[in-house]
């Protein structure tokens, strides 16, 4: 591949991302979730459903299904890795951190393996893909059953 900035696009589609996108972890409908919410990205038609089992303010199980681009699926998959076992408070703080870090309003680094998402910062039109699952997670936690969007 020729052209300037190849490293940037390779960074966006680095192997961690492609791997999560191809074989997303915890993909599938949950039987009896305590919380659930849908996320829609009107830009590209991505649509994720997040399922949570919350016990005593702790996320004891999480899964998701739906359709999306590599970025949104990978982000959802990595999110499920990250938040399983977290307290609601920890998860809420991660949601904020990921949002701020990806849309550039904070220079904080992304925690742990989420670092793989950072290439998205160079692609403002794709930030919404990366944050979709996180928006939906927030909506699921608040669980008023509404649809989360990334506007």
């Amino acid at each position: 591949m020729s052209g300037a900035g190849d490293s940037e696009i390779r960074e966006l589609y680095r192997s961690t991302i492609l791997d999560h996108a191809r074989t997303p972890r915890r993909f599938g409908r949950m039987k009896n979730p305590t919380h659930t919410a849908q996320g829609i990205n009107s830009l590209c038609g991505d649509k994720l459903e997040i399922y949570l089992t919350v016990q005593a303010d702790k996320i004891v199980d999480v899964s998701f299904d739906g359709t999306g681009c590599a970025i949104s699926l990978a982000s959802a998959s990595m999110m499920s890795d990250r938040v399983i076992g977290q307290s609601i408070i920890e998860a809420m703080s991660d949601i904020e951190l990921v949002g701020d870090s990806l849309n550039g309003s904070s220079s904080a680094t992304l925690p742990g393996s989420l670092e793989a998402l950072k290439g998205v910062r160079e692609y403002p039109s794709r930030v919404k893909c990366a944050t979709l699952a996180w928006h939906a997670l927030g909506a699921a936690i608040e669980s008023d059953g509404s649809v989360a969007t990334t506007e």
């Binding site: 052209g3 900035g5 696009i9 589609y13 492609l18």
Partner: protein, 412 residues
């Protein structure tokens, strides 16, 4: 018919007229394959708009001073050009709107809503743009009428027999897209209009993707309504046209109220203005329509025959080249097509494809193309779509194909 070299030199000449095409994006010369979403403007349009603002701007219709007179002449001159462009019988039939969307909403609210009720039906097709779906859904909600849908087949060809079978006496209007923006299908609107008229049903044609690519003659078509947008035919945004037969416009109540659409206002009684002004409330997008007039001149200068021919040739080339790619699925393979090719490449999501292509300077559209029912029909979340205009050439297509190859490698 032009010889191949003629076509090539013609396309290159035309391309020179469009400043936006001569730039680098992400370090590569831009390849713009998104004209179905919005076309670029030739210099003559951009300059006309700027010159208008520099020398001739004032409000129209109500002033006796020189600038107001010049502005009115330029604005109404654009109407004459547009009337000629679509061969309307009279300038009174050319209503200026903000775009195709507003034009269809106008028909929905002013023509249909007053006569619709439970049991009445509005017939559209499965390949409509949201602009020709949602306005009718709103009217249905408001009146209790029902929206019914004529099917298409796997190639994206409209099932006209099924459509004709749905034409009964409760159908108040047929709304049909001339050229599908998602599939490229050219619908046989002449036949549909004839069959609908045989049952005395009026027809609205969504011509958003019609006007930039072929000569339109509304009198020959004989449709009741024809709607289109300026920004898809190389004019400025915020402009559009509703063509409608005069007798229908005469009988319709106004859409919006305000200045210019009235002859006389008192608190007791208001007398509406003549056509087309009855449907143009408030200060219009004067500079936009002046620019659209210049776009008409430009298109007529090139010649719609030439445009159709150039695009047909290039579309064939593009379809052939795309077909070479491993794992490609073409969406929209009707026999009669124009200037658009949707596709899916392997299991690469269209959105990822869009980003990887953009990275190589190639601009395509990805997603649902405001035609979600089409996506539902093909059971895909979205497609990648390359669309052509008179300024595209084979080199653009080659760049598209090689960029797609790169994407395949990345996702291999």
């Amino acid at each position: 018919m032009l010889a191949e070299e003629q076509r090539i030199s013609m396309a290159d000449r035309l391309r020179a007229d469009f400043p936006a095409l001569h730039q680098s994006v992400n370090g590569r010369p831009l390849v713009y394959l998104d004209s179905a979403a919005s076309a670029q403007q030739p210099s003559c349009v951009i300059d006309t708009v700027a010159e208008y603002a520099r020398h001739d701007h004032a409000n129209v219709h109500r002033g006796v001073h020189t600038l107001s007179h010049r502005a009115t002449d330029a604005y109404e001159g654009a109407r004459d050009k547009l009337a000629g462009f679509i061969n309307a019988n009279s300038r009174r039939e050319v209503v200026f709107t903000s775009g195709t969307t507003e034009a269809i909403n106008l028909v929905a609210q002013s023509f249909l809503r007053p006569k619709a009720g439970p049991g009445d039906k509005i017939l559209i097709t499965h390949m409509e743009h949201h602009a020709n779906i949602v306005p009718w859904q709103l009217v249905c909600e408001q009146t209790g009428a029902e929206l019914i849908v004529a099917p298409m087949d796997d190639s994206g060809t409209l099932d006209t027999d099924a459509l004709y079978a749905l034409l009964d006496e409760r159908v108040l209007l047929v709304g049909v897209v001339h050229v599908s923006n998602a599939l490229g299908t050219i619908n046989p609107v002449e036949d549909i209009i004839r069959e609908a008229h045989a049952r005395e049903i009026p027809v609205l044609v969504d011509g958003a993707q019609g006007v930039p690519h072929k000569a339109i003659d509304v009198q020959a078509l004989d449709c009741e309504f024809y709607a289109f947008s300026g920004h898809k035919m190389f004019g400025p945004t915020g402009t559009g046209v509703l063509y409608a037969k005069e007798a229908l416009l005469d009988a319709m109540p106004p859409y919006q109220g305000g200045g210019d659409m009235i002859l006389e206002v008192s608190f007791d009684k208001t007398v509406y203005n003549e056509l087309p002004y009855k449907f143009e409330a408030g200060t219009p997008n004067i500079s936009g329509f002046v620019g659209l007039g210049a776009a008409v001149d430009y298109l007529l200068g090139v010649g719609l025959e030439t445009v159709s021919e150039l695009e047909k040739d290039l579309l064939e080339y593009m379809t052939a080249r795309l077909s070479e790619l491993d794992g490609i699925r073409l969406i929209g393979t009707a026999d009669n097509k124009a200037s658009v090719q949707s596709f899916i490449l392997g299991d690469i999501h269209s959105h990822d494809l869009g980003t990887i292509l953009d990275h190589q300077g190639v601009a395509i559209r990805t997603g649902h193309h405001c035609a979600m029912p089409v996506m539902q029909f093909f059971d895909v979340p979205g497609t990648a779509r390359a669309s052509l205009a008179l300024y595209n050439n084979r080199d653009d297509v080659d760049r598209l194909v090689s960029a797609l190859t790169v994407a395949q490698e990345m996702f291999a």
